[in-house]
């Protein structure tokens, strides 16, 4: 009996144990042979002999089960160990790309106005003089045309210098009330540290019946928008001049780099100019033959917002597909 138990406990693997099982419990195994002897045992002793065998069998079965559990556990443990890896070697796969900071800034801007029930409108990049200038109260030879260095085509068309022509297109194809933004690329003939020949603007226009829309409304939305974009900044409105709005205003925020104390970025003024806006000039409404309406319009440069928001050091870098910059936004 003890040697049989020893056999079980000597098995060092599940395969060895399986052999032992066949030797002990199999049809031709040790126990079967013992039970076979039962028929030769005389009657009166039969019962005691059978009981003895059953106890023996049960005890061996327990020993077997225990051994099996142990070996099974060891086996799994071994298997797991064999699959061990240094997980720390496998990080940093960097499989995701990056959104361009200008595009994600544009999205952030668009999201705000869409949430305020502005529609998105679109227009062509190659424009005619009427939509880009004339209808926006920028008649030929107007000094304000100097403000926008224009790319001209041989047939008289221009690359749009601002997203404002979309205002005109929208007003001509729809009826007030209008509430729209026009995001997109614009082009000016200017190329240096702070200017690129292509950049992006978001234009806004709201038109309703005369007397409905005031400068005070414009001030409210512009302040709220700038707080949404830049957080806790001071917002300052300065009267300015744009041919298509009157009164016009440029809007500044307190410098986010020096908190208004004055630094290189804000030319030591403590303020950063971020957008232009105003009450739509009546000449613009005349150009699209709108009568008895009022409205406001605004426009901003997306690159400027992106550079301020993300502290991008060089404007030109934004147009070079430079992954040293882009990777930072992954």
């Amino acid at each position: 009996m003890e040697t049989l138990k020893q056999q079980i406990n000597d098995a060092n693997s599940l395969t060895e144990l399986e052999k032992v099982r066949i030797d002990l419990f199999g049809k031709k195994g040790t126990l079967s042979k013992e039970f076979a002897k039962l028929k030769d045992v005389p009657g009166p002793e039969k019962k005691a002999f059978a009981e003895g065998l059953n106890t023996k069998k049960a005890s061996l079965q327990t020993a077997f089960d225990e051994r099996y559990e142990m070996l099974k556990k060891e086996e799994i443990e071994k298997l797991l160990k064999a699959e061990a890896i240094d997980v720390s070697l496998y990080g940093n796969l960097d499989e995701k790309g990056a959104y361009h900071p200008v595009m994600s800034t544009m999205e952030k801007i668009i999201d705000y106005f869409v949430a305020l029930n502005f529609a998105i409108e679109d227009g062509p990049k190659v424009e005619d003089d009427f939509h880009n200038f004339e209808a926006l109260n920028l008649p030929k030879n107007h000094p304000a045309r100097d403000m926008q260095d224009t790319f001209f085509f041989k047939d008289g068309a221009v690359l749009r210098t601002h997203t404002s022509p979309v205002q005109i297109r929208t007003m001509l194809s729809q009826k007030p009330p209008i509430r729209m933004i026009a995001p997109g690329a614009v082009f000016r003939k200017d190329y240096d540290i702070t200017h690129t020949p292509m950049f992006h603007q978001v234009e806004g226009l709201v038109v309703d019946a005369k007397g409905e829309i005031s400068f005070a409304n414009l001030k409210a939305i512009m302040s709220d928008f700038l707080h949404y974009m830049f957080g806790d900044v001071e917002v300052r409105f300065r009267p300015s001049f744009f041919p298509f709005t009157e009164p016009s205003s440029e809007v500044d925020i307190s410098c986010i780099f020096c908190e208004g104390k004055g630094c290189r970025v804000c030319s030591h003024t403590g303020w950063l100019e971020v957008l232009g806006c105003g009450i739509v000039d009546s000449n613009v409404f005349d150009a699209v033959e709108y009568k008895d309406v009022s409205g406001y319009a605004f426009g901003l440069g997306v690159e400027r917002f992106a550079m301020l928001l993300h502290k991008v050091p060089d404007l030109r870098m934004l147009f070079e597909g430079d992954t040293r910059l882009l990777e930072q936004f992954r």
């Binding site: 496998y90 499989e95 995701k96 790309g97 990056a98 959104y99 361009h100 595009m103 668009i110 869409v114 029930n117 529609a119 998105i120 409108e121 679109d122 990049k125 190659v126 030929k140 030879n141 107007h142 000094p143 100097d146 790319f151 001209f152 085509f153 041989k154 068309a157 009330p177 509430r179 690329a185 190329y191 690129t196 020949p197 292509m198 709201v206 309703d208 007397g211 829309i213 005031s214 400068f215 409304n217 001030k219 409210a220 939305i221 302040s223 409105f237 300065r238 009267p239 001049f241 009157e246 009164p247 016009s248 205003s249 440029e250 009450i279 000039d281 597909g321 430079d322 882009l326 990777e327």
Partner: protein
């Protein structure tokens, strides 16, 4: 436009106004302060009086000066500037003065002579460069007191303010104009400027000159004449012209520039030195309207186009002794179109004319007389000659209520009236809401009620306008553009997930490059006239060149892998716009890591395809018809979505890779509109089991799968739900043929398939492929 604090003081008493208030007010009224510079003269720089000046015994170019630098204080200073010889008062840096961080004035011995200080030039004091030599002081900066610290002279230690003037404010192109606007905002009255000539030449101008006009002269002109001798510009004028960076070399130019900048009146000087008035020579000035441009001639010699430019020959020089001065005003409305249409050459002063110069010519002439007689000791001829256009005052009616409506705040009518009066508008008050106003002649920008409202807004200050949220009617504003925006957003998100970085490049291209790589170019007649640079000289017809350039740039920054995408506009030869999604994948297919033992494979056709598919969804490929120079003849394909070719992808031709210093590179360009999600209807799903069957054909190796697929498609088999290639095999034994294995999924919507039905479908496929392509079942 640059002004200085003390210059403003000529017209406005701002002694009680702090710098901070001044800047804030300028900004608040729309005169944006762009730059502020306050000049500070270091301590121990004092007014010195030169008592004597002798040549240095051992150095030709040095002078030994005895200079009084305070009551009873005399210093010996060696000075190298030539102009010290004639100077009386100078700026002396005493021992201990610091002219810079590392520059302290110390006791020195120059070629054996003791020197106890330094006579300074303007630039040595941090002031603008006023020319060679030391700065000679005169009383134009204030009373000269020997020993007084120079920093106490506020006209030297001035605050210089640069204003970014908007295009509509020609009236503020002068110190007087800015002061006038500030006067209204600060509520400080303007100082009146009046001057009577006291020291005229005996000759009256009318006796020697005559002004005639021909044609309609819709301009104003006033002429004065002077004899000029030894015109020497005083320090204050030099300094201020230095501050505004308009210092010229000739005294007359400086003199005129100073008056123009001060008064805003356009002044020109003509040289008439050759005329001998003593001997009865006469000057005939003619103003003639030629095609709406006023020509000024002097004794029949063309001298100027009024307000536009002056003939070189009529200009004064340093030697001029007799000068004719002309003040002029032309309404910009009369002139800008004419100049542009007739392409007339313009000079620097035209800028002022076109923005609207000061129409009050007498102010300019009086100021000129005042300066001449006060500071220059020269004499003007008596009287002036003039032609004056009768300027009809512009009168308009405005309603206080309408102004308030535009602003959105209630502003009392009285306040509106007071603001307009302060801005020199004439106001005809009435008890009605509406009232008449007369616009000052120098405000060329004011025309309608919105312009007037802007004046009110400026002076009240936008900060003082209460913001009010707009109430508006709810409306569904989802439109095509908004849907496109969302589609683009989703597409970008998938491209980013697939490992591409988003790129933006200019919508321009280099025509030479487009041609070199056989891309179409914009029709010559529709191209840009004025490109910014030669490498951006046309509109792009592909974004791929831009992406290749970006990849090249990244390689130069030692990047081993560049994956970029761009959604941008391209143009066709008719300049029609189209938005495309373009992708480039260059170099390694993944980052170097442990899994690939630091040697990742290069990007290949399959990997690139998988990436594109994860971005744009499913598509078919067909051998590409594209012919541009990027195309790899054996690894390029047209991308087909919904049975339409909507773009292409290609391995970049190895010679192009060489041009851009790239290794294995793949690019794709796909029409964005094809990628906008379409509406999808679900179809019924079969409840019956389907079966997969594989067939291998031996077929000519040049036959593309597309052709085989097309044959199967034309069969239009109702049970054939799906089929696709699963293996292609080629070896020498097959010769000119290949083995192509296809997998077919066969399923019925109505019943469990019988073996016969499957057999029938398979049979038809086999016979079709055999007959169409001479293939044989393997």
């Amino acid at each position: 436009m640059i002004i200085t604090r003390t210059w403003l003081e000529n017209f406005l008493d701002i002694s009680e106004v702090s710098d901070e208030t001044l800047f804030k007010t300028l900004n608040a009224i729309g005169l944006e302060v762009d730059n502020i510079k306050t000049y500070t003269i270091p301590q121990k720089i004092v007014v010195g009086k030169i008592l004597s000046c002798e040549k240095h015994p051992d150095a030709d170019k040095l002078n030994v000066c005895q200079i009084e630098v305070g009551a009873g204080m005399q210093r010996q200073i060696v000075c190298g500037a030539a102009n010290v010889v004639d100077a009386e008062y100078v700026a002396v840096a005493c021992i201990g003065a610091k002219l810079g961080e590392d520059f302290e004035i110390k006791h020195a011995k120059l070629r054996g002579v003791e020197s106890e200080g330094m006579v300074c030039s303007a630039s040595e004091l941090g002031l603008p460069n006023l020319g060679d030599g030391i700065m000679v002081l005169d009383e134009t900066i204030g009373e000269l007191v020997v020993g007084k610290e120079l920093n106490e002279y506020k006209k030297i230690a001035d605050t210089v303010i640069e204003i970014e003037l908007t295009a509509n404010r020609g009236d503020c192109l002068s110190v007087h104009g800015v002061a006038r606007d500030l006067s209204a905002a600060l509520n400080i009255p303007m100082k009146s400027f009046e001057y009577e000539s006291q020291n005229q030449e005996k000759i009256g101008l009318a006796r020697v000159a005559k002004l005639t006009s021909k044609g309609e002269i819709n301009a104003s002109l006033e002429f004065a004449m002077a004899n000029v001798n030894n015109l020497d510009t005083s320090l204050l004028f030099l300094l201020r012209l230095g501050f505004i960076d308009k210092l010229s070399t000739t005294p007359i130019d400086n003199f005129l520039q100073y008056i123009i900048h001060t008064t805003g009146v356009i002044l020109r000087a003509y040289d008439v030195s050759h005329l001998d008035f003593e001997n009865d020579e006469k000057l005939i000035i003619t103003a003639q309207n030629v095609n709406d441009v006023i020509h000024i001639s002097l004794n029949d010699k063309k001298a100027a186009y009024l307000g536009i430019h002056q003939e070189e020959a009529s200009k004064t020089t340093g030697k001029s002794t007799q000068v004719l001065f002309q003040a002029s005003y032309v309404n910009p409305k009369h002139i800008v179109d004419v100049v542009s249409e007739q392409k007339i050459q313009t000079d620097e002063l035209y800028y002022n004319t076109s923005r609207g110069s000061e129409p009050n010519l007498s102010f300019g002439i009086t100021y000129l007389t005042y300066l001449f007689e006060t500071y220059y000791n020269s004499k003007l001829f008596e009287g002036t000659l003039s032609v004056k256009e009768e300027l009809e005052p512009t009168i308009t009616t405005v309603s206080a209520e309408e102004i308030c409506e535009i602003i959105g705040n209630k502003i009392p009518k009285m306040e509106i009236i007071n603001i307009l009066k302060a801005l020199n508008f004439g106001v005809q008050t009435s008890i009605e809401d509406s009232f008449g106003i007369t616009i000052p002649p120098y405000r060329h920008d004011i025309e309608n009620i919105q312009d007037i409202t802007e004046e009110i807004v400026r002076i009240i200050g936008i900060d003082n306008i209460e913001a009010k949220a707009l109430k508006f009617v709810e409306k569904n504003r989802i439109n095509k553009s908004m849907q496109k925006y969302h589609a683009k957003k989703a597409l970008r998100s998938r491209a980013v997930s697939a490992g591409f970085d988003e790129s933006i490049s200019f919508a321009f291209a280099d025509k030479k490059l487009l041609k070199a790589y056989d891309f179409s170019i914009i029709n010559e007649k529709l191209d840009i006239i004025n490109p910014i640079t030669t490498d951006l000289n046309t509109l792009r017809t592909t974004t791929l060149i831009n992406l290749l350039q970006a990849a090249k740039r990244n390689v130069s920054y030692s990047k081993k892998s560049t994956a970029l995408f761009e959604i941008g506009t391209i143009f066709n030869e008719y300049r029609e716009e189209k938005e495309v999604l373009s992708l480039i994948y260059a170099g390694q297919s993944e980052s170097e890591n442990v899994s690939n033992a630091g040697k990742p494979s290069s990007i290949n056709f399959e990997l690139f395809l998988k990436k594109i598919s994860s971005i744009v969804g499913n598509f078919e490929l067909k051998k590409s018809n594209e012919t541009n120079g990027l195309i790899h003849p054996y690894q390029s394909a047209d991308i087909i979505i919904d049975n339409k070719i909507c773009g292409y992808l290609t391995k970049v031709h190895p010679s192009v890779c060489d041009d851009f210093d790239l290794k294995e590179t793949f690019v794709a360009e796909i029409d964005f509109n094809a990628l906008v999600p379409k509406h999808i209807n679900a179809h019924a799903i079969s409840k019956f089991q389907g079966v997969y069957k594989d067939l291998s054909f031996v077929i000519n190796k040049d036959i593309h799968y597309t052709q085989v697929a097309l044959s199967i498609k034309t069969l239009n088999l109702p049970l054939l739900k799906k089929y696709y290639p699963v293996d292609v095999y080629q070896d020498e034994a097959l010769g000119e043929e290949k083995s192509l294995s296809l997998r077919f999924f066969i399923q019925s919507e109505e019943e469990t398939l019988s073996d016969e039905a499957i057999e029938e479908t398979i049979k038809r496929i086999i016979s079709k492929i055999e007959s169409d392509h001479g293939a044989a079942l393997r």
